[in-house]
Amino acid sequence: MSMSDASMITRAPSQEAGFGDYFALLKPRVMSLVVFTAMVGLFAAPISVHPIVAFASILFIAIGGGASGALNMWWDADIDAIMRRTRSRPIPSGKVMPDEAKAIGIALSGFSVVLLALASNFVAAGLLAFTIFFYVVIYTMWLKRWTPQNIVIGGAAGAFPPMIGWAVATGGISLESVLMFALIFVWTPPHFWALALFMRNDYDDAKIPMLTVTHGRRSTRNHILGYTLALAAVAIGTGFTSLGGPAYIVVAVVLNIAFIKGAVDIWRRDEADSEGDDFKIERGFFKLSLAYLFLHFCAILIDPLLAHIAGGML
């Protein structure tokens, strides 16, 4: 390569990435959800873990999640540049080169899995490795651009963190951890389909086969209602296992009534209604879905916490 060729691929100093741009590759908002759900999985487990081991394990799970985010940004840089929502990400904005994101993603993937194995156990590390593989290869490289079921199956990647947290404490997989997985897995489709309804041109422009594009918006509204009903069954059913308790059941019933009402409102509307108020109901349902998941996972911790406090008072 000649000097002139080299200068063509060198960024101008003003474009050079700062530390924050590399951190943004790790998708901090997704990482915060990973940290939270993994923490709940770890603390809900019947076996206690030393605080330093717990902290380090959660950190390595978060780094693994971030690594898969960087690999997702590397692979999807072309469609991120088209969509309004993702246009300002570090690669499409020209601050980070795609190969840098790939290198960071691969390095942090290996680093996080090995250190999680050393900090906790091989089951947790194996689950983390599988999560990264599932998100990057199965979802990002394969499903996302191929099938409208991308969100449904790909949602599994986001559902693994509480299972990993549980495995850090227990060294295994059990009904409780599978239920926490199921809660996020069934929650993901209505959450993203609501987003697809009001970010309507983004997925069209990027030629991603979202349900709204392949099956139409009426079908998407039907699917949101169907998955919301299935979610309510999983969420409330969880309350009758060892993961739940009276406080969890109360929270789950209230949240699921509100969520089903939101899904029914979306189902009853047509495009003219939605255009009329700029997708107010769909936007509200999307915001509610974020609170829904957060509060359910908080509720999982309420009953053990109450029992702990009651035990301390005796």
């Binding site: 700062g18 530390f19 330093i52």
Partner: protein, 53 residues
């Protein structure tokens, strides 16, 4: 080959280098903390051939 301390890359990349340095220091702290916990709290056995020595 030596770098001129006044080269503009030192100032341009100061933030990035500071961030990487802080992350590496935290990593050292975490691995040290983990080691202490593993040795003092987790059932730790000295290998039998080490004991015989």
């Amino acid at each position: 080959m030596s770098f001129d301390r006044q080269h503009e890359i030192h100032t341009r990349r100061f933030g990035r280098n500071l961030g990487v340095g802080a992350v590496l220091l935290m990593l050292v702290g975490i691995v040290f903390g983990l080691t202490v916990v593993k040795v003092t709290h987790v059932e730790f056995e000295v290998p039998s051939d080490e004991v015989s020595k």
